[in-house]
Amino acid sequence: MTAAIEARGLGKQYGRRWALTDCTLSIPAGHVVGLVGPNGAGKTTLINLATGMLTSTTGSIAVLGKKPASDPAQLASVGYVAQDTPTYSSMSVEDHLRFGAHMNPAWDNDLARKRIQQLDLDPKQKAGKLSGGQRAQLALTLAIAKRPQLLMLDEPIASLDPLARREFLQVLMEATADQELSVVMSSHLVTDLERVADYLIVLVASRVQIAGEVSSLLATHHLLTGPRRDTASLPAGQQVITESHTDRQSSFVVRSNEPIQDPTLSVAGLDLEDLVLAYMGSAKAGSNHPMLEGTR
């Protein structure tokens, strides 16, 4: 099966600053992928490279096996909801549906109209007069009704209130269930993604820190606490993500495919937020981890 997104050594440079560095990824199709990282980490850059809005400085990226935005068929197979969910403010909701219908051969008109109805949007309303949540919903409707195989959303709910967030995610989840749809969704908040994502990419300081299925990430990351000890004394199979030491005690977040069998250490699991924070902290501390790939 073709990977949803396949990147090799992908990098993007703006002037002297690298917005994305040496990104090598293979995201299998059929996942809801959470792309998480602090602001400015390169999430938007990665999504823009994947939608063909940007061209890379180094490396290559293939989306559904093809160069992004290379031809109408490739464009048709990818749905994209950009940051701030742009819509034409002077065009009505109805006009947007016509826009979708005229611009996409695979447009599902029934689906689009049903969603607009469910969302209780007035078709005659100008998009400029919609609330942020309604606008996001309209943009999502446009992206879903073109019947893509992959849907990419760039911080779609960052600017929405909690209720609108929940509604948005609900619509998104229904769509992924109904259509065979892969989703890549970025956010700087893990909590936004926790409930929906089954695959996670952590992007910090323009580098991918880790990527993998959520279940395997959770299964292979552990929080170890025990009497103070040197990091080097941990077995070689355990990769230390973060460590902290007090006079008497040491704690580590490690990644290990093997069970932890050291009786002097108490082993606890991590939730997704802890895991992401560990990687963010580790990247901040400047320890240069090689790109880690999750188990496939």
Binding site: N48, A76, Y80, T87, Y88, F99, P105, L142
Partner: protein, 344 residues
């Protein structure tokens, strides 16, 4: 894509159609009066010596609304391409870039190249059609004026279609101006990425081109015709002596057929521009002026005139159109190329 182009262009199209309708009504309602005046002065039937009729016709028009409409429509022919560049061209891509909607537009199942190409093509054609229609209407309306000028004989009238400003306000050249202004506006928007500055840049460049072109390039589109005639001081337009040095500037009177006179020099038998020095007959304060004229006439001076004859009106119009269309096409290619590599 055609639907989207139309939907986003609808408002501008309606404004343009309404403006054209207003102009059409103004021209239609006054056109009949103008041709009636043309007929009543006997210009319709006169065959040979029509200059008196033409002068009468002209005098009747001096200070009238008709004259105002004539100048107004000439001005419009220059203004409309500029307005098209500013209000149709500049916002076309700039507004999408500015409001972020390009992220929506460029992720439908239509490539960026096609998106920009269709928009450029359709609205560019609309621009050319608009100015073409306006040119037809104003030419029809002003045809009695041109006919009278022609029958009245040559340069005695200020209405001369071969020379600026009328050359660029008539015929098919304005179609080229509109295409150029539109493509210029789009290109400015693509490169500057902001609507208002793009509009300003479009205005400045288009205005500059419209000044530079007739001043520097238009006269040489076709190599100018030359004509020499004996200089006659008795009918000279200007004889000027400046001291010290007693240099003379003399300008002869040229009464050829209707033409765009590019230069009119008085030259010596050796082919140099005559600059004096003035003979004593011209310097004496007591001698009658005729003595100076006689002296000048004895110098074997000739008038050298370079000009574009009126018969070259259509070849020059086609050339002008072709040049502007080529530049517009170049700018369009630049737009497509820039949009293709445009980053978000």
């Amino acid at each position: 894509m055609i639907w989207l182009s139309w939907r986003q262009f609808r408002l501008q199209a309606v404004v343009a159609a309404a403006a054209l309708a207003v102009v059409a009504i103004a021209l239609l309602s006054t056109g009949a009066h103008l041709s009636a005046l043309f007929d009543s002065n006997g210009l319709a039937t006169c065959r040979t010596t029509c200059s008196t009729d033409a002068v009468n016709f002209n005098n009747q028009l001096k200070g009238s609304t008709t004259e105002l409409i004539f100048y107004g429509s000439t001005f419009l022919m220059y203004a409309v391409p500029g307005l098209i560049g500013i209000f149709w061209g500049a916002p076309l891509v700039a507004r999408e870039l500015e409001s972020g909607t390009f992220r929506l537009a460029w992720n439908q199942s239509v490539t960026k190249s096609r998106w920009i190409a269709v928009k450029l093509g359709l609205i560019g054609l609309a621009a050319m059609a608009t100015i073409g229609l306006l040119s037809l209407m104003t030419s029809w309306w002003a045809s009695p004026l041109y006919d009278a000028a022609q029958k009245g004989g040559g340069n005695s009238f200020s209405i001369n279609k071969i020379a600026p400003p009328l050359f660029g306000a008539t015929g098919i050249a304005p179609v080229g101006y509109a295409a150029f202004a539109f493509a210029l506006g789009v290109a400015a928007g693509v490169l500057i990425r902001r609507t208002i500055p793009a509009m300003a840049v479009t205005l400045v460049i288009f205005a500059a081109v419209q000044v530079v072109m007739p001043l520097l390039i238009q006269p040489h589109l076709i190599s100018p015709a030359r004509l020499t005639a004996p200089f006659n001081a008795n009918t000279a337009n200007e004889i000027m002596i400046s001291s010290p040095g007693n240099t003379m500037t003399v300008v002869g009177n040229f009464s050829g057929p209707a033409a765009w006179v590019l230069s009119d020099e008085t030259i010596t038998p050796s082919g140099k521009v005559f600059t004096g020095p003035a003979g004593s007959a011209c310097l004496s304060s007591t001698a009658p002026p005729q003595q100076c004229n006689n002296w000048l006439n004895s110098q074997h001076l000739r008038q050298l005139i370079t000009y574009q004859p009126a018969s070259r009106y259509w070849p020059m119009q086609w050339l002008e159109l072709a040049i502007y269309l080529v530049v517009a096409a170049g700018l369009s290619v630049l737009c497509v190329w820039q949009v293709r590599r445009r980053r978000g």
